[in-house]
């Protein structure tokens, strides 16, 4: 009896591991191993012809902490994340609630919102270049109609980062909206009717019923938005290249610069490790803390 159950359990375990192994192999090969290797190389000095690489422990990290550009980039990225995450989620949610309602041309509205998502980031950046270019750009053209002076949105430190932020939000919101729309479809129509009969206003219904039921989606989107706030930098290459004077430089761009423009691989590795650590911690907090307060259907 118990021997039989044991055998069954072992069979189940083997079956489970077999199913897991392809993913485990791929992850090890392309995620875990590179991470460990990066961690390893971040603890060695940069080799030159005269001075070979040597183990320096945390020296690369200390150097980074002493680098004012690093702190500027961190500050930029925090602002970038702090604005793009909530704003794109908010816009996505509002658009989804609207596009899910009984409006005319619903299909068109949905498609229109989704278009930015389909565009590659590089193409989107080129499009926005056409908006931002001083003198010729659409923004300036409109401004000049009202007699406003020409503004070099991408070329001045005060506005460059914000210009980048807007492109990101524009790009992300439509994508997130699709998730919200899908989630809204799963909320039965009669919940709204029940709430109506109980006298709930549209706002009360949204706040007490819809938003809580969308929490799993919001959580998923928030994690994605956070990862994107580090990952999504393609448009920097087209729009500002991190400038002017690093005003719009984000961490990943700086890492890329370190590695492939300044050929300082150890510093790039050190920064990468820090990014991984921070992202890992934040994702864990989001999942473990918010998960408890989230209702899954």
């Amino acid at each position: 009896m118990s021997a039989h159950a044991n055998l069954e359990r072992r069979r189940q375990a083997i079956y489970g591991w077999l199913l897991l192994s392809p993913a485990a192999v791929l992850l090890t090969l392309f995620a875990f191993y590179p991470s460990i290797a990066t961690l390893w190389s971040s603890m060695f000095s940069r080799g030159t012809r005269r001075k070979p690489t040597e183990f320096v422990g945390t020296e690369n990290y200390a150097e980074l902490f002493a680098d004012p550009t690093f702190w500027l980039v961190v500050k930029n990225n925090l602002l970038y994340a702090g604005v793009t995450i909530p704003v794109s989620i908010f816009i996505a949610l509002s658009m989804a609630l609207w596009a899910n309602g009984k409006i005319r041309a619903r299909g068109f509205v949905r498609t229109a919102y989704f278009t930015p998502t389909v565009l590659p980031m590089i193409a989107a950046a080129n499009l926005w270049l056409f908006f931002y270019t001083p003198g010729l750009g659409v923004l300036d053209q409109i401004g000049s109609l009202f007699g406003l002076p020409s503004v070099n949105w991408l070329g001045q430190p005060e506005t460059a980062l914000w210009a980048i932020i807007i492109v990101t939000i524009w790009k992300e919101a439509g994508f997130f909206m699709i998730f919200y729309l899908a989630a809204l479809q799963t909320i039965p129509e009669d919940l709204k009717e029940a709430a109506d009969i109980e006298g709930a206003s549209r706002w009360t219904y949204t706040r007490r019923i819809v938003l809580p039921l969308l929490m799993p989606t919001t959580l998923f989107i928030a994690v994605n938005a956070m990862i994107n706030s580090v990952k999504l930098i393609d448009h920097l290459f087209i729009l500002t290249k991190g400038g002017p004077s690093d005003a719009s430089k984000l961490i990943l761009y700086y890492i890329w610069e370190m590695a492939f423009a300044f050929f300082d691989a150890p510093s790039a590795a050190a920064m990468t490790i820090m990014v991984i650590a921070v992202l890992g911690i934040v994702a864990a907090v989001q999942f473990f803390y918010l998960d408890k307060r989230t209702h899954y259907q």
Binding site: E193, A194, D196, I197, E198, G199, A200, I209, L213, H295
Partner: protein, 339 residues
């Protein structure tokens, strides 16, 4: 006392893109009554109920509740509650939060809310389950949460759309009694939608039988049973339904008419003494009696009841008879003729 009815529908019609939903719905519902909207699937019962609830607005006609014209009022202004077929419980809220949702929305003070909650849970037998989520309840318990939510605010009008259709047969019988008792004890007016004629006949004071968006007959269950307005009502109400004969099968009824006769009014008689000769097609043992299905060229739905276990062989030829006073006569269009 001849006061105006509590709920009044007057010539109400609703169409979707010109397609018929319901039409010409005129109905008076007295306060404290139990009214069942009965009919086959797709006949417009739910539509009628939703028009009453304010979840749909009528294209024509007027709706009055408690002498107030609510034809175009919002659902929340009609002072009614509703039990949905799917229960429509909020999945992320606990039983208690589900039940008091409406009270909270209407800003009832906490103390009063708690008292009402306790009472509603007591009546529906849900005490002790306050903190469960709907997903952690059985079908019957969910149904009772929906009931509790409907009665907690003490609205005088309660609408129910097939509230028992997701329960198993045994539970359905029990809850049927509970709902009926609840309605009596609280003295509320219930409008109850069902496609199950047994449910309607056993629970309602007044049955409204519908077909294709039109009301066929309004009356007490015994009226519908013993004086059906037309052949549709005759065939829909009762188990087994009324058998219909072409008039020329019998003598003295003239051309084109249809004759209705119920199984319990038919007797089997020795060969040669009957008014009709039929073939046995099936025997169904029901417990206290046996239902014998009969086939005759000029009749549909013919059957006869025999007490106890009395199976008859298929293909047997038997003679049946009945008294003229038990016959229902319908004209060419299927409408009941006087008498």
């Amino acid at each position: 006392m001849k006061s105006s009815p509590f709920v009044k529908l007057d010539g109400v019609a609703k169409r979707w893109n010109g397609q018929l939903g319901v039409e010409g719905i005129t109905l008076d519902i007295p306060e404290g009554s139990f009214t069942a909207l009965l009919g086959p699937s797709g006949c417009g019962k739910s539509t009628t109920l939703r028009l009453l609830a304010g979840l749909e607005l009528p294209d024509e006609g007027k709706i009055l509740i408690d002498t107030k014209d609510v034809t175009t009022s919002a659902a929340s202004d009609r002072n009614l509650s509703m039990v949905f077929q799917s229960y429509a419980l909020f999945p992320h809220l606990s039983v208690a939060e589900n039940v008091v949702f409406g009270l909270k929305v209407r800003r009832v003070p906490k103390k009063e809310r708690m008292e009402k909650l306790h009472r509603a849970l007591e009546i529906t037998g849900l005490l002790g389950l306050e903190d469960r989520k709907p997903g952690e309840l059985s079908g019957g318990q969910r149904q009772r949460v929906a009931l509790a939510r409907a009665i907690v605010a003490g609205q005088r009008l309660c609408l129910m759309d097939e509230p028992l259709s997701n329960l198993d047969a045994k539970l359905r019988n029990a809850v049927r009694k509970d709902i009926k008792k609840l309605q009596r004890d609280l003295g509320i007016t219930v409008v109850y939608v069902t496609h199950d004629q047994t449910e309607a006949m056993s629970m309602a004071d007044t049955v409204v039988l519908m077909k294709d968006g039109h009301i066929q007959q309004v009356g007490a269950p015994e009226d519908l049973y013993s004086r059906p307005n037309n052949t549709f009502v005759a065939e829909f109400v009762g188990a087994p339904p009324m058998a219909l004969l072409e008039a020329d099968v019998l003598d003295g009824f003239g051309e084109g008419k249809t004759i209705g006769i119920r199984a319990e009014n038919i007797q089997i008689v020795p060969k040669g003494d009957g008014r009709m000769c039929c073939t046995v097609t099936e025997s169904e043992f029901l417990g206290a009696e046996t239902l014998i299905g009969l086939d005759h060229a000029g009749a549909t739905g013919l059957s006869v009841l025999k007490p106890g276990l009395a199976m008859m062989a298929e293909g047997n030829e038997i003679d049946i008879t009945f008294n003229d006073e038990n016959l229902h006569v319908f004209d060419v269009n299927g409408q009941r003729l006087a008498g």
